[in-house]
Amino acid sequence: MDLFLVSSISMIIFAIGLYGIMTSNIGIKMLISIEILINAAMLNLVAVAIDFSSVDPLILALFVIAIAAAESVIGISLLTAIYRKYGKVSLSLLREIRW
């Protein structure tokens, strides 16, 4: 497998995630986009691991999976709380935190 090819795919996926984050205002959608971003990065890690035949990036990838899981748990619970309060999950509701 060509490293360049995998990296390109990863870059495309990353761009999709970025697009998703920057265009949406819905919490759930943004969370999914973040997952896509993380997966793009992990794909890259795995490709590098195979290309350099090293295990270290794989261990890193495992950590990232665990952290991503925890992060999405926190994100989902926050969004649930926001939904309970406002009836929607639009993040533009959360403007009270600013100055």
Binding site: L18, M22, M30, L94, R95, E96, I97, R98, W99
Partner: protein
């Protein structure tokens, strides 16, 4: 630990809040509380006296901070002061109960006098110059409070401020002197670690064991500077020549306060300071003790001249206090040549002076009560017949002040004058060494004149005002303290030799010569007495009759100058304060103002920048992402340019 010695100054300190708060509800209790506490102080002073006689000097101290220890140091010199201060204060407190009986704020008065006495007793006992200074300031504060006790009188308010500010000038000099002493001694190898360079016993021991090493460690010039700066503090507190201007104005307070300030506390603190750190003066260059002697003697003369032209009964007494303090300081200064006996002479005069000056002030107070606060002696007259007891007591005070033979001051003051002659005859004959004797002898003459001028105007002739015609003695019970003081003024002379012997061990380590009571040769010995009698004769001729009414000296330039106090007040307020200090402090205030504005501007600028930064927190998640992406892009661009990728 000998607890009684500590209690001596702690008890009046306790009585300060007690008298204030209990006295608020029970006015009459305040005086009783204050008197009881000071009475206990007197009792403990006596107990401490016996303790010191039995087991030697008491020195106890606690660690305070760095190398400053808080402690008490009680030797024979301290004991004398303790006994005198607590006894005279007790007498004054007892008389105050009568004197202040109609004042609505008498609880405040008794609280403040207690604090005053506590400050003085603490000052006397302190083992460290820093604590000495703390109590020294406490005494200054109380004098401010008490002189301005009748603060609704504008005179009293300004007199209080004047006393505070003038003594502050001296205090600053004293403080600088302490700083010089600290810096020049603290690095020296003479001190073991933890030993404070400002501790009085340390200084005394160092000098007595190794005076040459001590002088070497500090440096002769520094010692001269330190002693002269201390002398500045003494001049402020004990009202010596240039800084004496606050004392006559301080007469605006109650008469008992004047008695307290002039007899037991405050002004004697300065004399005590010189006596306490006398070892420093002993090893300092000779000019500092010469300065002390000449300054004291000159003050004695100068205040004597001013005392003659005053008409206010209390101001006459105030100038006599300045003059007598000059005698004490001069006596200490004489020690430069005649040995440490000079200090004993000064201290003895201090004790005697405390007795008769308290007596004089309180009898003046009794007269003022009888005359509805009339203070002009020219409006009194004939009071000896109207209030025989009070004026007789005053007569005892007057003959003591004028140093006539049977009284105590005859012994103390003539010993000083004889010492001054001894000073001259033992010196190399320079005119400077003769100055103290000349000044002090003329001073004795002037003392007799102003004292008996006051006394004759008060006591003899016909009553010259309506008030004086209807004066009556105070109730005898109120005058009991005055009887004690009068008795002591008369008989204290008996203890002269014993006193010198008692005080001698304090300075023994420095000067091994034996105790000598000087008697000047032949006719010189009798000059002060002859002059005093001559002065009394003159004053009797002029003031014992109505002759003075036909004299008009108000045109003479010398009289005018003396009446204006030789323009010293003018010099201080108009020239020094208004022309010099105020412009300087004004310009300093301008500098400070612009500095403050700079600080303020920096603050407002920071606030503005902060509120600008705050705008970046939009609360819009998209914006944050945008910033993140832009940042990442920038990082990549830099990495690419840097050739890392």
């Amino acid at each position: 630990m000998y607890i009684f010695a500590w209690l001596i100054f702690i008890l009046p300190l306790i009585s300060f809040p007690l008298a204030l708060f209990i006295g608020r509800y029970r006015r009459n209790l305040a005086g009783i509380i204050a008197s009881t506490m000071i009475g206990l102080s007197l009792l403990f002073s006596v107990l401490t006296y016996f303790e010191v006689q039995k087991s030697g000097i008491i020195y106890e101290s606690f660690h305070w901070f760095s190398n400053i220890n808080f402690g008490i140091y009680v030797d024979n010199l301290t004991l004398i002061m303790l006994l005198m201060v607590s006894f005279v204060s007790l007498m004054i407190q007892l008389f105050s109960i009568y004197y202040m009986k109609d004042d609505p704020n008498r609880h405040v008065y008794f609280a403040e006098t207690s604090l005053f006495t506590a400050g003085m007793l603490g000052l006397v006992e302190s083992s460290n110059l820093v604590f000495f200074f703390l109590f020294w300031e406490l005494v200054g504060l109380c004098s401010y409070l008490l002189i301005g006790f009748w603060f609704f009188k504008p005179n009293a308010a300004s007199a209080a401020k004047k006393a505070f500010i003038v003594t502050r000038v001296g205090d600053l000099l004293f403080l600088i002197g302490m700083a010089v002493l600290y810096t020049s001694l603290s690095g020296s190898s003479l001190l073991s670690p933890g030993q404070s360079p400002l501790s009085i016993p340390t200084i005394i021991n160092l000098i007595s064991t190794n005076s040459a090493g001590f002088v070497h460690a500090i440096g002769s010039t520094n010692l001269g500077i330190i002693t002269l700066l201390f002398l500045g503090g003494v001049a402020g507190k004990s009202s010596q020549f240039p800084l004496h201007v606050w004392i006559p104005d301080a007469m605006e307070g109650p008469a008992t306060v004047s008695a307290l300030i002039h007899a037991a506390t405050m002004v004697t603190a300065g004399i005590y300071l010189v006596a306490r750190v006398f070892p420093l003066y002993e090893v300092a260059p000779s000019y500092s003790l010469i300065t002390v002697a000449v300054l004291g003697a000159f003050t004695a003369l100068f205040a004597g001249i001013l005392g003659i032209v005053m008409n206010d009964i209390k101001r006459i007494l105030a100038y006599s206090t300045i003059s007598q303090l000059g005698y004490m300081l001069a006596a200490i200064g004489l020690s430069g040549i005649i040995g440490s006996i000079g200090v004993s002479l000064g201290m003895y005069h201090l004790i005697v002076h405390a007795m008769f000056k308290a007596l004089l002030f309180m009898s003046a107070g009794a007269i003022m009560i009888a005359l509805m606060d009339l203070r002009n002696v020219k409006e009194m007259g004939g009071l000896w017949r109207k209030m025989p007891v009070t004026v007789s007591l005053m007569f005892i005070g007057a003959i003591t002040l004028a140093a006539l033979p049977p009284t105590a001051a005859f012994f103390s003051k003539d010993a000083i004058i004889a010492g001054a002659w001894e000073y001259f005859s033992l010196s190399n004959g320079s005119i400077v060494y003769l100055l103290p004797w000349i000044f002090l002898t003329i001073g004795a003459f002037l003392t007799a004149i102003y004292t008996f001028r006051m006394f004759f105007l008060v006591a003899l002739g016909k009553p010259r005002s309506h008030l004086a015609e209807h004066a009556h003695d105070a109730p005898l019970i109120a005058l009991i303290p005055l009887f004690f003081l009068a008795a002591l003024s008369l008989i204290l002379g008996v203890f002269q030799g014993g006193f010198y012997n008692f005080l001698y061990p304090v300075y023994k380590a420095i000067d091994p010569s034996s105790v000598l009571i000087y008697s000047a040769p032949g006719i010189i010995q009798y000059i002060p007495l002859i002059l005093a009698l001559f002065g009394i004769l003159i004053t009797y001729i002029i003031y014992g009759t109505e002759r003075w009414k036909h004299m008009d000296v108000s045109k003479r330039w010398f009289y005018k100058a003396a009446k204006e106090k030789f323009y010293l007040d003018y010099l201080f307020t108009r020239l020094i304060a208004e022309r010099t200090i105020i412009p300087i402090s004004g310009s300093i205030a301008d500098v400070e103002h612009s500095y403050n504005r700079g600080v303020e501007k920096f603050g407002t600028d920071s606030l503005g920048f902060g509120s600008f930064l705050r705008k970046m927190q939009t609360g819009l998640v998209e914006n944050y992402f945008l910033v993140i992406v832009l940042g990442m892009t920038l990082v990549f661009i830099f990495l690419i340019i840097g050739g890392a990728l």
